[in-house]
Subunit: 334 residues, 6 copies
């Protein structure tokens, strides 16, 4: 069985299977297509029960209703799963609504996640090549061995390639975790050249694995959400566990080195209020923290500017997460 | 080799080896006795170098000076180690000062830690019996197996018996961790009876292990201090690692149960600002948090009242850690 | 005149007078029934004025409109009062709406509050018996006398029986204050056994009266809301005043005991930011605070789990008040 | 018995009884004089026990020792009481020290508090006249009656005249409470003219009584300290109780007016974190809060400038309470 | 060219040019009138594109649609500009909606801003006279010269007359800045009489200019919004720059006086968290801060009470900005 | 007159004029040497007045006393000025103390600041060359002109060369401001390559001038302290004023570019609580903030590690400013 199968979704075949996207659903159109099931609700109107759904893909979302066999339809799929529906587009309160005649859960090899979720601009495999190339530069034998153990964990690496860097704010796209990781590495490499006390191999290893717990903290089945582990442990502790288990397998891994590496993971959010159980206490930790912050914010600002900048609009909408408007810039001269 | 030897200090022989304590050092007295070395400093006076020490035991601390062979004396022992000194008590600026003629590092089997550190009122072994008895009440087979694995880890259990519950504030005494753990268990037991949604075995197991990381977070070599692990990981993550490694050894341990148990450890400080990387999200977690807080504060208040209450004094000195005075009570009627 | 009359609502007769509840209002139905008036607003549509109402009972709420005699109808009742309406159920924008033909204020003996507000599972009188039984265990004669004065204040006690423990968050139901009080007493009783410095009678008395100001802070006329006193003084100061006035009636009540008891009321929220004008400074105060917190949170978590847990849903909706999701648990095995 | 006698200290006779102050104690001088006992401690030196005291008056403080009859001397007076001592001034470690031969508790009519504590510049009685004159301007009959009840409470008024406005920060001097109260009244009077919605009588009454609880919150027996009531209830609740008890004596006092007046007392610190159990919710409350803040800060700044300004010094020492330096101003031109 | 022309809007001619206001737009009415363009959006419905607008004036806002020549219409005016429209009132989802046939940008002399924005009760010119009269009382020659430079800056003064005191919270009306400034001056004048260390001329000058940066921080073109300068610099720094540039023009302006005056502008918000880059460090600064706060809050409370008080309503709606309800008062007796 | 003379201290001649430093002052030594006067105080002992001084240089500080002609001595120099003293070293309470016979203010050309203050490792002129080289890379003509105006301001540039980067925490050494500036530029250069939306010239210019206000905020006359401007305006506003005045001299400088550049200065501390009057709202601002933070913290950590690391010490002393210990690292292997 191939690796891709084992993680459940067809990765290799990158041909788009979907031909019709939500943004194209015009009233009157007949539809047979895959969507992700975002919400489902049993409702009643004038004594008749019906099933109300929200369907989506990477282009948007649409309401849908089912009037027949609703109990069977309700149990067919869970929120977050992919479904294949047959029906046609009506309007309700002047918005398009999909009237569904048939619905069934999609099979894993029928769909490609990239049709349903935003993804990084660069190809996953190219990003992953960069990740592996950074590892080649590590000279410390214990850190090198640790990183090789990660590389050898194929199922983990397949998840890594697609993991998002966040749920809502920065790098919220498939491959975003690798993108973010590589930029943080890049800033840390610069810092390692600038500050003579820095243990370069330790810092770069920390940069490579600082967010590795996010692999287990986000589910990417149809849309991004936290997993139980993401909520009950948090991505920082998940990452620390993951690294601890690998270190346990390396005989003679120095205790002091292990503590300093874990400290990088644990303290990288910089403050207790940001869910780091310890604050940065080594020079590598304080550098990693600011490299992480700089890339997270720069990506979030870039994303907002790119998606909101239109002619004549100099300021973004209010950004709740950071309580401010963001400057989108003057219009380009023609 | 016996277990006690392997943890370094002679535990079995409970006979006190020290006969002279700091509080008894009167001017003129000749002294040959063990102390913990708390500070050492090379100084110079009118061109002559000397070594200034601070020595201590569980009854207090005293300054000491060495004028001869100071380099050799300086290298003899590190801060935190036990030393045997020979000398006599002089006075300096009206305070007793020990003039030291000879100093050497103590051997591990010459001293008993309990002479140097405050300890719980109840015997360690009785407290530990109570701890084991609680485990007998657990019915969930996975949680029971996990707790048995702890019990079977003899070296860990020897450390547990003596571990303090804190460094400065609550239960800062040998055996304090067990005392605290048992009281938290007791409050949780009450709560399990009161709230019907509580998973009693999970809550009690969480109470038993919530602070287990403190075993690796405090050093008790002469006086209480943080270990490197205590500072770089924090006791919460240390405890989580310890439990994670045990769970890894239990085949079939349910993933969901593991997450909920770890969540109890991780969230028990209640807030991110208190170094918990996640906030309580289960009913067991919210109860454990308040049980932990209640016992910590009640012990701290009790300790302050017991040590500061004297006739005519109704209020404690200012308690910096909690920014308040504590009411010591009216004088007892005769 | 009976006590019940004096507080305005018919308590004795527990037979339900309402036969039709909001949740049962189907289009087409003719309705003559009591509701609580939650909102009223004069509006205008195409030059014609009408009165828009929101009506409710303990099963839900529904919009209503009146087109005739609207001025008279508007003045008939205030928000929060009970009304009797005659009309029939129409639909508006696909939701049921009540078209009202007649409306009049309800008489006090026509309605029973329990039809309009959620209430505790156990009977008020059984809860109150428990409350009185706790008082019997108090040995300190001054505290006993104080509690007896409360018991003798029949009008106060009638209000106590029905008072909610909160407006939105925990114990927001008739009888909730008694439920909460008794659980806090229960935890404090446990603590009094565990910590030898605790003055048990003082702590239990404090637990019994810590929230007594809530009686005057919430109105329960139709739905829960703050009273002017609840807003302008807060329930902590209300409770302190209430107890101060009773103590003024007890000759020789020791000044020191009075201060320590009031301190329990004033400091029980634990922090200034939580509206306590002083922080806990006695061992009884610090215990009462955590007992109060534990029961408040455990009840709130229980309520959320019980009302939100459905098959396939492991996490609650976002809980704004505490900024987190709550874990609802795995589905029960069949 | 005169009023002055009943509060314990001789107020009428304003002739200074002390002739010798701490600042004048030069080595060699024989001393028979009254001081306030600030600290006492039994100590031991080379086997001999002695009593170490700290004595003070409004000019400063000095160490003192007693070698004979120390047990009797120790029990003679409590910290905070006035003592008469006989002895002579020696030096110890180059500082003056009083060797005490005899000590006895002072009788109440032998001493005058003003010799021991700093006091307001204006005469207490003149300040109090101003206070009474403000009351004459109140027209609302209930508020007027309430204020008259205060005036009729002679023992309270005697305490009011001398009460300090604070312990450390602002108006920390005998008479300081009246000084502060009158300035707050003055600012509120201005505001009442400026904002048309303000109920002037309510605002001025609130200004007059907002800090009245300080009378019971500070002890002025020798030096300023908190009373048990000041610590366990806080001056805000003390003041509220005091006013509540007076209002209880006024038949027909409107409930609404009582709530709004108490609200002024309770909310005047402006924020929960500042120990107000409720935040300002009326226009009078928000004005009173800022008037109180302005006078408190202006007095504290004035005090620091007046006591620290010397030639060539433009900035105060670091002021911990507000985390800043204060600008003392340029030197005056000659 | 007159001054008024140079700032773009016709100020002199105070006759109202608008005859029809949003609140009067009834279905069926034909409309040819000026409005401010608040939003515009290109949308598509069933394949046909249309332009959706929001129009407003000082009486409210209304939706509007354009179906023809939408590209030309879209480019005709920017959000915030005044437009003249021709059309008639329809209803859509039971709300009035304006169907627009023609739209063009208004010419500056066709409209009067006061028709579109709320304004102060007193005439701008009377307020400005008061402002100038305060300046006459300044005796310090440098401060006087500085204020005269402001007065001589006619274009600045024209903006000052109309500038609002805030965007949402206090004094959010044309002329509001002058109203606020004069009240702050008035409170400071009182304080200058009360505290002898205050430099009266400095304090009053600070009061006059403390918010002058708001002139450049808010745009009043149709509705209140922040300017780029308001967002990127903030009104505090804008004001400081403005005063700094004027001071640069006054030869010999004492460095010390300049720093103390700028300090008043910079610190007047009182805390770093409130966007003051320095905290008040002079007695004038601390007084100005509280005078500013008192007037801002008193105005905001007054505005809420005046706009929300209706019969039977004792409490305002929840006020998000300050997290509380505001007491509106009892109903007036008839 | 050379530039160096105009700023008061002899910069050119780098020969050390001091031959004796505080750390070398042994009891018995006769001393004729320059020191900086750190404190002076008139005191009295047994009726005789004397002058107590604290003297210092870059190697440490020492107490000194003068018994004769103390009034003349007191007026000879101000705190912060350089003095020449003649005397000899005694001991007092076992510490060396300088008994001063003669004291006079130093002339400016007698002393070299570098003897009194710590300084950067690299030569000021080399650092300044780097600064100028960065300017050569700016292509935007307005920004280039602005930076050239700075370069042309010779007196400002002389101050820049020596200005410290901070008072206590990071880069607290002569030349520290340039060191810090260049490292921030370097990190920003890296970021400009990584994020495509960044305006590189704007970001680098912002990095070059972000802390330029520190030139006027710290005095370096003998020891580092805040100037009046540093305290009353803060270095952020000082820097903004400085840049604003230069921009005023450049005809046609685009308003938008000026706002965005000032925004970089104003927001670079990242948060209001950190004294930035606005938060970062442009992508350049958010990057500059983290570059600034990273270098400040990395320098502070480096300084602590370099000055505190000794054999056997793995942890720094408690660092109050950031509330943590810092890890100093394992001992180097021999």
């Amino acid at each position: 069985m191939s690796v891709a199968k084992s993680v459940g979704w067809n990765i290799e075949s990158m041909q788009k299977m979907k031909t019709l996207f939500v943004k194209d659903l015009k009233p009157g159109l007949e539809v047979t297509e895959f969507f992700v099931l975002r919400k489902k609700e049993l409702k009643e109107y004038n004594g008749q029960r019906f099933l109300k759904l929200e369907l989506g893909d990477r282009s948007g979302r649409i309401d849908a209703v089912i009037w027949d066999d609703i109990d069977q339809a309700h149990d067919e799929a869970q929120v977050g799963e992919m479904v294949k529906v047959k029906g046609w587009v009506t309007t309700y309160k002047e918005l398009p609504q999909l009237k569904v005649d048939k619905i069934r859960k999609a099979k894993k090899d029928e769909v490609d996640l990239v049709d349903f979720l935003p993804q990084a601009e660069r190809d996953f495999n190219l990003l992953y090549d960069d990740f592996k190339n950074v590892i080649l530069t590590i000279e410390n034998s214990y850190l090198k061995r640790l990183l090789e153990l990660l590389i050898e964990d194929l199922s983990l690496m397949e998840k890594l390639k697609r993991a998002p860097g966040g749920k809502l704010w920065h790098h919220a796209r498939l491959g975003g975790l690798l993108e973010h990781t590589l930029k943080v590495v890049s800033i840390c490499e610069k810092a390692a050249q600038m500050y003579d006390l820095v243990d370069r191999d330790l810092l770069i290893t920390g940069a490579l694995v600082h967010d590795i717990g996010k692999i287990n903290s986000y589910s990417t089945d149809g849309f991004f959400d936290y997993t139980d582990e993401g909520r009950l442990l948090g991505h920082i502790v998940s990452g620390n566990e993951l690294i601890d288990r690998k270190i346990q397998k390396i005989s003679g891994f120095p205790q002091d080195l292990a503590l300093r590496l874990k400290h990088l993971i644990l303290s990288h959010q910089g403050q207790l209020e940001q869910a780091s159980p310890v604050v940065p206490q080594t020079i590598e930790a304080v550098i990693l923290h600011y490299a992480d912050e700089m890339d997270a914010k720069a990506d979030a600002f870039s994303h907002i500017i790119k998606t909101q900048k239109i002619k004549g609009k100099k300021w973004s909408d209010w950004v709740h997460l950071i309580n401010r408007f963001i400057y989108l810039g003057e219009d380009e001269e023609d």
